[in-house]
Every structure is written in C-alpha cells, then in structure tokens.
Symmetry: C2
Subunit: 330 residues, 2 copies
C-alpha cells in the first residue's frame, strides 16, 4: 500500500472545512544515506496548526499548499540507513499528518526514559505539557498560594496546568465546557470549576468562585475568558497567553470591557511560544518524571482512529470535542 499524507489544498477563511484538505499518495522512494523510514502510530493535532494554515509570517512558516502538512508524531522505525536508529525503535518527530515519514536521522528523536505510553509524548509529556510547565512557572511566575485561573482546563495544555499548579501549592480555578469535562477537571484537583457552557457569563461565574481575585491567568482561549480574568485580576496579576482558540477562526475583534484594570492593578500580559524553552527540556522531564512517580499526573486522551480521520480530529479542537489530548491512532 502506498504511503499517504494530508495536504492543505486552499487556505481556510474562518473555521476550516473538509474542502481545505486532501489525502494524497506519497511517491515511493528508497532511503538515502542517513535517513530513516518511520511507520507512524500516533499523530498529534493541535490548535496552533490553525495559524500555519494562514499565509502570514509568524513564528512557524505557513503550511505550503498541496504539500504534506507537519505536526508531532510517534512512530516505529521500519528501515534505517543511519547508525542512530535501528528497525523497531519507537521515535518522535514532526512529520505528522501522514502514515509514513522519511526523515534525516537528526530530525528524529528517541523517546525520553519515562514509564508512560508513547503517545503521552505528544501531550502531557510533550509540547503541550512543556507549554503548561514553562507558561505557568516561568512566564506567569506562579508560586505557592497564588490563585491560578486556567481556560480550556480539560484540554491537553490546560489539564496539565491544573495539575502542575496544584503540585506547586496554588489555588486552582479551571474553566471547561460541559458537565463531563468539568467533572474531570475537578478530579485533577482543581479547587473550583466553571462550566462556560452553562449560560452564566464567564465574568460572573469567575467572580463567584474567585472571591479574592486571581493572581495568574493561563490563557488558552482569549475572548470572554481573557476579559473575565482582567475583571478579577489582583494587584500584579500575571497572564501567560499561549493560545486564543476563540480567536483563530474568527473575523470578529476581541471585545474587552475590563482592559483598563491593567493600569491600576499593574497587571502583565505576556505572550509566549514553548519552543523558546526547548533548551530547558531537562527541567521539565525531571519535574514531570517526579510527579508521574508520585501519582500526581493524570491524563486523558480523545482518540480518532485512522489517518483518514485526521482533519475531523483537528476540527474537533475548535468545537470542544476533546477531553485531554486530541490524538489520531494510525
């Protein structure tokens, strides 16, 4: 059977549809010296990929039209012309959105030595987990006793923020959509959970549970959640902005009613990209490994089966379709 990959055939306006994607055959070819052939077993879909579908200069280049898209992936080496990997090795790399990847060995990494399922390295122990870790502890500087508010708290990043914040002695308020997700966030140790689908405006719901305000906001969504955090931010509150899932597909501006509170409360809003912290991955694996052993880290996955389902999994990110990490099992 031929290897296949998803390509972007046109640039979406607003929310992408299936018409923006095509599943194409990849030309078969032999390996060159130094290359490995990987049969992918797990593919990651992540909100940041929406940004790469636009033709604008950003921190990662746009996806090229009619070329295989990229993304995190886990796979098994099935053929190697590098002495760094041998057949049967389980590896991670960024040639996702396809069932088979041919890569130079220096673009392939062995999995860290932690006792978890390999797909965890696409989520809590991978880029989403590092986003949670460095965003919460470095960018927002969360410390013991802080009240931390996190949006999309049932997602891959947010659920890890909740648990790291609890491990660090913070008071944690999460927001998620629907009773099942809220129950899961509560089970992770959150002190309070807001259901943003309940009909109560977020700013009101947050005010009811954050009687003493919030010191840290970890933003995955933007919009109403960001405004609510501005409304309830304490003196010197710090906001780590890692994603704005409400904004990516919207042509509407973000409306903020409480922005001027920034001034009197001396609040700080800081955008960040996890890749800036890659050289500090050792700290992340050390701390996360410890919390794993202590049983302090739970995770959840929403799994779509088959390469064909990849765009559906991706689109599900924007309709709240996942609890925990959204994954495709090839």
């Amino acid at each position: 059977m031929m290897a296949r990959a998803w390509t972007l055939t046109s640039r979406p306006q607003g929310l992408p549809t299936m018409d923006n994607f095509a599943l194409v055959d990849l030309p078969a070819r032999d390996l060159n010296d130094g290359e490995v052939r990987i049969a992918n077993t797990w593919l990651s879909v992540d909100p940041y990929m929406r940004g790469r579908m636009n033709d604008v200069k950003s921190y990662t280049p746009p996806f090229e039209l009619d070329q295989p898209m990229q993304g995190g992936a886990i796979g098994t080496v099935v053929e190697s012309r590098s002495d760094r990997f041998k057949q049967g090795d389980t590896v991670q790399h960024f040639a996702g959105w396809r069932d088979e990847a041919i890569l130079p060995a220096d673009q392939v990494q062995a999995l860290p030595q932690l006792d978890v399922d390999p797909q965890a390295f696409l989520g809590q122990l991978g880029m989403p987990g590092m986003t949670a870790y460095f965003g919460l502890l470095e960018v927002a500087g969360a410390k013991e006793g802080d009240t931390v508010f996190v949006s999309a708290a049932a997602g891959a990043v947010g659920s890890t923020v909740v648990q790291i914040a609890k491990a660090k002695g913070c008071h944690v308020i999460g927001s998620a959509g629907g009773a099942d997700k809220c129950a899961w966030v509560q089970s992770l140790g959150a002190d309070a959970v807001i259901d943003y689908k309940s009909g109560t405006p977020v700013v009101k719901a947050l005010g009811e549970v954050a009687r003493n305000g919030i010191d840290v906001y970890f933003d995955n969504v933007g919009g109403d959640h960001l405004d609510a955090a501005l409304a309830h931010g304490n003196l010197h509150a710090r906001f780590a902005i890692c994603g704005m899932i409400d904004v990516y597909n919207s042509a509407k501006p973000t409306e903020l009613r409480y922005l001027a509170r920034l001034i009197g409360m001396r609040m700080r809003i800081q955008g960040f990209i996890v890749s800036d912290y890659m050289d500090r991955a050792g700290e992340f694996y050390r701390d996360m490994g410890g919390w794993l052993k202590d049983g302090k880290l739970k995770r959840n996955e929403t799994v779509f089966d088959g390469l064909e389902s990849t765009p559906d999994a991706f689109l599900g990110l924007f309709s709240g379709g996942n609890t925990g990490k959204m994954l495709v099992r090839v």
Copy 2:
C-alpha cells in the same frame, strides 16, 4: 473673600458634564499647630482624575461626593504654623481644585532646585514627567535603537516620552490629533508623526511609517492605537500602559483585532502607576535636570484662567483640547 473649592456632586456616567460639579465656599478657620495656609497659583487637571470620579475600588480612593476634590497644585505659603515653611515659600501639594489649601506641613513639599517655572512641576518635571520617564525606561525597557510608538504625543506625558526617547537614541513615532499638534510633536524631535484625525485608520498610518515594526509602545489612550501597536509589534515588543483616555468615559468595550499577535511575537503588555516609582524620584530629577541644561527638553502648556474654569480645563483633556500640560492659573 472666602476660599472656594470644586466638589463632585454626583458620579458621572460616561463623559462628565458641568452638572457633576459645584463650586462651594470653604468654611474659614484658623490654622492648627503644624499647619500651613497656601494660596494656590496653579492647579493640575489630569486624565487619571476621571477614574476617581467612579465609585470603584482602585489605586486611589474615589473622590467623596460633596467634598473638595484633590489634585496636584502649586502655591505660595501665606501663613505658617510649622517651622518647615515660612510665608512666601513656593510649594507643591495635592490639595488642588481650590484656591486656598490648609494642610499639615508634612503633606506639603518644597519645589526641587531646578531652574524652571514653578508650574513645570505639575507637568514635565512632576507626575506626568515621571510617568513618561519610568514608563518608557523601566516598564517598557526602551533602549538605544528601539522604535518607540507613543500615543497622545502632544500631551503632557506623551511629549515628554518623545523627548526622553530621542535623548536615549530611539527612533520615535508619535500620534497626535490635528496639524498644529503634529507639527509640535515633530518639533520635539519625533522621526514621524501620525495625525489620528486625518481619517486614515491608525493601524494603516502606523504601518506606513513603521516599516520595521515597533519595539515599544507607550499607551496613553487605548482603543485603536493599542490595536495598531499590536498589529505592528516586533518580536518581544513591550507595551507600557499608563492611560486609556479613549476608554475612561466609554461604555463600549475595546475592540482588538490583532491581540493574538501577542503570542507569536512574545509581546508583553504591562500596566503601571507612577506612584510605584516615587522612591526613585532622585534618578528622575537628576536625568531631567541634565537634559534641561542641555536644552533637550521643550514643553508647552494650555492654560485656563481662574478657579471657575477648572472643570472646563478637565473636560478639555478628553476632547483633545490641550497641547502639552493642561493647567489652571488661579
């Protein structure tokens, strides 16, 4: 003649009107031990005072209804029962909005030893100047070679930001309303000036003059200017938010179309209050004194005459009525 003071008779919704204010007689009384009587000569009106007219907890308490309002003032000691001041001394204090103030001596300051008109200590060499100095250099961390964008660049704070930024070797873009103000900002050394009243959207006008983006934004107004700065912010751009004159009187939310650029560009937005830097006033006077001697600081004043005109002067702040510092000469 009896001493008089302006009081707030009701809390304004949106833009204040004359109906919110009343000019009342102050009860005559003798001084107590340790007090001084000051005949005010100059009164300051500043945008932050709008915030004190609302009944909300903030960094300064709300003005009390039917009590004399406060604000920066310069005056002459006409009677003293303190050994710290004698008749004829020129002093500054915060019992503004009135023609005569009775204060304990520890709430009165002698003027710093700089060779300028006394009213300069209400503007460029006072709180607005310190706001410019610490906001630009500390909060935003502006350094040589940075492109600095400043809104309300013809105002008391903004015009000082322009000149400090030039003194520090920055490339400076100012925004002001109307040809006269723009010409003045240009005369202060700004490399480019945007006329926000020209009809061209700020985001477009800024893009035309900031071909290499901006590294620092000093925000006095919020709204469209903030959004334009987000649209053109460079990697690691820093925004110092000191005022949002467009927002104070508006019930409408701020609409931001470019907020998500925060993430990819790792931008930082930091609110601040100048009073946090009061213990570092020595640095400010030292540097400003040097620039004054070197002829690097120009200033302008818009003067209303008579205590009766104080609310008009205050309201003029929100209609762009001032070039440089807005003052009342009693």
